[in-house]
């Protein structure tokens, strides 16, 4: 097992403290979060749950009609900014190139940081 760097050790401690603190939220906040969760589940039941009931009962023809509706909705709706981004082959290749450039930029920045720290130490 490789040893942690100082940054990794520090980050691990910070993450642990943050997770410990979130368990100590005020009771009023916890109650409000529970209310929000209940409202979200009610929404899921009214929208997603209802659709599941209907689609289960329609059979093959109903499923085809539903697929057509979904196709039209997807092609006419505004872009969903909350959806996770997907990439095709060309985008993936470009992203990997960009990632390589960013790695090089990151390394250059690290070297500059170390040089600055060394200079500050001497001064």
């Amino acid at each position: 097992m490789s040893e942690r760097t100082p940054d990794e050790a520090w980050a691990a401690q910070a993450g642990q403290r943050l997770r410990e603190a979130e368990r100590e939220l005020p009771d009023g906040v916890v109650e409000q979060l529970q209310v929000a969760r209940a409202q979200a589940l009610e929404t899921a039941l009214q929208s997603g749950g209802g659709d599941r009931w209907r689609m289960a009962g329609l059979g093959g023809a109903g499923a085809a009609a539903a697929a057509l509706v979904v196709f039209v909705a997807l092609n006419s709706a505004a872009p969903d900014l909350d959806a996770l981004p997907l990439m095709d082959e060309a985008e993936l290749a470009a992203a990997q190139e960009a990632e390589l450039l960013e790695e090089l930029e990151f390394l250059a920045w690290m070297v500059a940081q170390e040089q600055a720290d060394a200079t500050a130490g001497k001064g």
Partner: protein, 188 residues
Amino acid sequence: MIAVGMFCFMADEALNQFLASVEKRAYSMALVAVNNSADALDIVQESMLTLARKYADKPPAEWTPLFYRILKNRITDHHRAATVRRKLFGWFSRDDDTDADAGIALAPAPEADEPARRYELNGTVDELHDALHALPPRQQQAFMLRCWEGLDVRSTARVMGCSGGSVKTHYSRAIHALRAQLEDSGDV
């Protein structure tokens, strides 16, 4: 039909358990980002509603990155709205008084050898929250997702909508900035 009913119940229970598992962390993250308890609660509520309304039928394995992406977007929307209000009215400030969420003073790090001391995280959680709040948004996001939530680089990149290299850069800069600020606060 009974089988479908059972399926629906199990799916809703799975969503309930997921939301229960993330709600406190999501609120804490939103609070750090926007510095206001009421706004943080609104952001979490909107995020839960969006996930339930639009993505409840996705595989549960997708809920974590989806939820945090929604949360990130809602926080960004909040900052944009606040910026517009500031420009229009001039008296809004990002440095709003925080609600009286009691700081949790943790025991100071024990005395240790000099090489180990520099690894220690000193100070209160409030100071850590303040330092995290002061980070640029992308560094803040990367730190919260990687360090606080524990997402890997790939998942973090999907949530943030950037490459893995960008995630590593933002995360590393965040750690350096946080350590510098907390060490400069005089608690080392």
